[in-house]
């Protein structure tokens, strides 16, 4: 074990892992976090808190992570390069480790243009791959990015994201290989609706032996309505929602659509679980956290191993 992460422990013991996602509030209200954390508790091995997702100002990921930790969960802090240069990133990395957070997900970040402060100056001093490498060097070499040494290193289980549905498709797996070479311990993928394309990507991953070097968690998410499916298909960058998904949701009476969306999510979990090299799922039900227990149970993923951090 490189860290005290519960997620690392679960993955190392070859148990099919479940991570969840917790969207922080656009306010200073800690109760929102506590309420969502209590829903996730016992149903996930660790939970992510997004870091200014889509460029909208929300409570800091590390702060919401700490509140969730107080509720007895293992947090994964998300950290983007959009808003911090290498100085700020390293200060935050030291801070989260000192607060007892064990996991970090390293991201480039959604462009500020999409958020509620499009006039903000984007930073992008590092990219996600350079961030992974920097955290790895801090943890394993006790070195700052400048090369100077530190006394107590941040013991963090290092994650990164990958989108099998983005272009150029042929470069997605080489890019994953770079993240692995940089030091990623686990990967959470973009939300999967096109299972065939994900399976094709996983084959390319296995062909390079990457599934043996990094734990891959398949991204899944329930869809609440036909409108939401269409919105994701046409408006959300990097998403691949096949027509068959929309047809399936349209095929049931309106009041049944959200139930069908949950069933579809469970079906996708069962399908990706069969794919060699998939070590777990990352379940995203933003502003719909209450369905997480039902989905995890229906997918046959309960009980979760007792949490140790």
């Amino acid at each position: 074990m490189k860290t005290k992460s519960n997620l690392e422990r679960v993955l190392e013991s070859k148990i099919f892992a479940v991570t969840g996602e917790l969207g922080p509030p656009q306010s200073a209200d800690p109760e929102v976090i506590r309420r969502k954390a209590r829903i996730l508790k016992g149903h996930v091995d660790a939970f992510n808190v997004t870091d200014g997702q889509t460029g909208v100002v929300r409570m800091a990921s590390w702060a919401a992570c700490l509140i969730g930790k107080e509720e007895g969960l293992d947090p994964i802090v998300q950290m983007t390069c959009r808003d911090r240069n290498r100085i700020a990133l390293q200060m935050d990395i030291l801070g989260i480790a000192a607060l007892g957070i064990n996991n970090i997900l390293c991201l480039t970040g959604d462009h500020q243009k999409f958020g509620n402060h499009p006039a903000a100056k984007g930073v992008y001093d590092l990219d996600s791959i350079q961030l992974v490498k920097m955290v790895k060097d801090m943890r394993d070499e006790k070195k700052f990015q400048c090369g100077e040494e530190m006394a107590i290193e941040p013991r963090l289980f290092i994650g990164a994201a990958e989108n099998p549905f983005a272009d150029p498709f042929e470069f997605r797996v080489p890019r994953l290989a770079k993240k692995v070479a940089a030091g990623a311990d686990f990967i959470q993928t973009q939300i999967i609706y096109n299972v065939d394309k994900f399976a094709e990507w996983m084959k390319m991953v296995r062909d390079r032996g990457l599934h043996e070097k990094v734990k891959i968690l398949a991204g899944v998410a329930p869809i609440k309505s036909v409108g939401a499916a269409k919105y994701m298909k046409t408006r959300v960058p990097g998403m691949d929602v096949p027509d068959s998904v929309i047809t399936r949701l349209q095929g049931v009476p309106k009041e049944q659509v959200s139930k069908e969306g949950i069933k579809l999510c469970v079906d996708i979990i069962k399908q990706v679980r069969e794919i060699e090299g998939v070590a777990g799922i990352h379940l995203t039900a933003i502003e719909w956290e209450e369905v997480v227990p039902e989905i995890v149970e229906a997918a046959g993923l309960l009980p979760r191993p007792k949490l140790v951090t």
């Binding site: 462009h111 350079q130 920097m134 990958e162 989108n163 150029p168 960058p237």
Partner: protein, 216 residues
Amino acid sequence: MLISEQKPIEEILSYLEGDKNIFLIGCKGCAEGWGSGGEKQVAEMKNTLQEKGKTITGSLVVDMLCDRALTQLKLRSYKKELAAADSILVLTDGAGVQTVAELVNKVVHPGCNTLSAGGAHAEWKESERCLECGDCVLEFTGGLCPIARCSKHLLNGPCGGSQGGKCEVDPDIPCVWQQIVDRLTKLGQLDKLERLVAPKNWSVSLVSGPPVKRFP
């Protein structure tokens, strides 16, 4: 006026490692003015490279290398010399390097760092080609600049928002990383992108460095 200075010769030689036959290009515009890639520097570079055992298949100094039409016309007279070259070394600013990369299906090495655009942005009308970052990366990116043309200045490949050749930020913006992957695929050099590119030195860039023009 684009202000550039030659990269250290060790760095240039590291780019040319494995290439025996080199075609040399300079510019009589800004690069001649700043002594980084005019007639004199191209002649000097020719000697230096020959001393290092390279064969120079040909050399050319264009009046304004960033003028696409003019450069295309000039390059027509050097078809044989270009064909015989393993790669091309361009001694001028980032705009000129990218002009050659767009016109010639060969690996193009940047021989200079662009320190400042001096208020002008070369003769490329439709888009910015150089952000005067002071530490040219065109060597690793197929002669297409991800600092000037990627919305997030990424150095290690496309983000997850590249779809159908377009940038997630605006459907009118081509994803330069798609273009870089396409070009390196065509050149059989996609493996160049497998290398981990370290964080960039922004202290030499005009946007992050001291607010004065730096002259070589």
